[in-house]
Amino acid sequence: MSRIFRKSADTWLRVIMLLAAVALVAGVGLLVAGAASNVTTRENIAPVQPVPFSHRHHVGGLGIDCRYCHAAVEVSASAGLPPTETCMTCHSQLWTDADLLAPVRQSWAERTPIHWARVHNLPDFAYFDHSIHVSSGVGCVECHGNVDEMPLTRQAENLRMRFCIDCHDDPAPRLRPREAVFDMDWTPPPDRRALGERLVERYGIDTDDLTHCYICHR
């Protein structure tokens, strides 16, 4: 009776099994890395904008307060992006022939909004609210980083669930007085936890159920 398998078949089988194992490990590794990479989380990515708006220039350089442009941030869930009118309060007189600002003037003349590319975007199943964080003394810096140093806006944190929970679990050491929420260079006192614990008391923050799923998934 002739042999069914050639002599080399055994070697081939081993090689194929080895390759399959490598592929499996690599595949799982890629999935895990992909989920954590900033292509998925958008961390540190600055999308191309219709106008290269610079927070470094306007906030760091000119010292304009966040609320001059993001006027809703203290009272609503969404911080709000400035309407063209807000740019025009200054650019009706300043840099009026700059090519960079042509889309702003066009938007104003034609009454069509500027389409800013979103920098942050939580998935729809996660709920977020700015106003409660502002009134509880959570600074913009905690989640958006040093916006005043960004020539183009990018997402400073990964904004995974872990990031939110880490603070909700124990907010005290990351709180600041309400007056300092918009301050990009606030220096905390040496004992920040002690301050935070006083603030938890003063602002009536309920720390018991902040990590419950229904807080963010509703």
């Binding site: 010292g63 006027a71 969404s78 009118e85 807000t86 200054c90 009706s92 007189q93 729809d124």
Partner: protein, 185 residues
């Protein structure tokens, strides 16, 4: 056995109902809305609509609130956000944006503007004046009164005689006050 088969079938059926949880069929504030011709989620209200709280806001615009330390505090905060970039922290018209070439705003410390009542400042914030746009969309009526009260306080602060200051803020060598007037707001 049939029970188990049905169960497995049911599970498979449920699994087949893929619901996109990341991008759900609902509109968030800044998404594009295919439903409307201009593609904007935040549609303008129909003409004549009265939004919740509009009546209170309108009433707040007409009536001057009582002067309290809290009102001045609020006024100072709002002034520093929305007005100081051009008018300067003390109201001399020397803010950062003016220094960068915006047409110079007038100083608040002139006889003409000192003579204006608080209501005039509320009106300027609401309607704008000359090169200055209206701030009505960003400054609530109650806050407009707060800013007006703070401007009146600023005007007063530049004319108080040094010997009338409380001891804890009195400067060591007080410069002579520019005028003798002590007209209140």
């Amino acid at each position: 056995m049939t029970r188990l088969g049905l169960l497995i079938l049911a599970i498979l059926l449920v699994a087949a109902c893929e619901q996109e949880m990341n991008e759900q069929p609902k509109y968030e504030v800044y998404e594009t809305a295919d439903l409307f011709p201009d593609g904007i989620v935040n549609q303008k209200p129909q003409p004549g609509t009265i939004a919740l709280g509009d009546l209170e806001r309108r009433a707040a615009l007409d009536e001057r609130p009582p002067l309290t330390p809290a009102l001045l505090q609020r006024g100072r905060e709002r002034f520093d956000i929305y007005c100081a970039p051009c008018h300067g922290a003390a109201g001399y018209g020397d803010g950062m944006i003016a220094r960068r070439g915006f047409p110079d705003p007038p100083s608040y410390h002139t006889d003409r503007l000192r003579a204006r009542p608080a209501r005039y400042f509320v009106q300027v914030i609401t309607q704008g004046v000359g090169d200055m746009y209206s701030y009505a969309t960003r400054v609530e009526p109650a806050d407009r009164w707060a800013i007006a009260a703070y401007i009146k306080a600023l005007q007063l602060s530049q004319r108080v005689k040094a010997d009338r200051l409380p001891p804890d803020v009195k400067p060591a060598a007080a410069p002579a006050s520019p005028t003798d007037g002590e007209d209140g707001p």
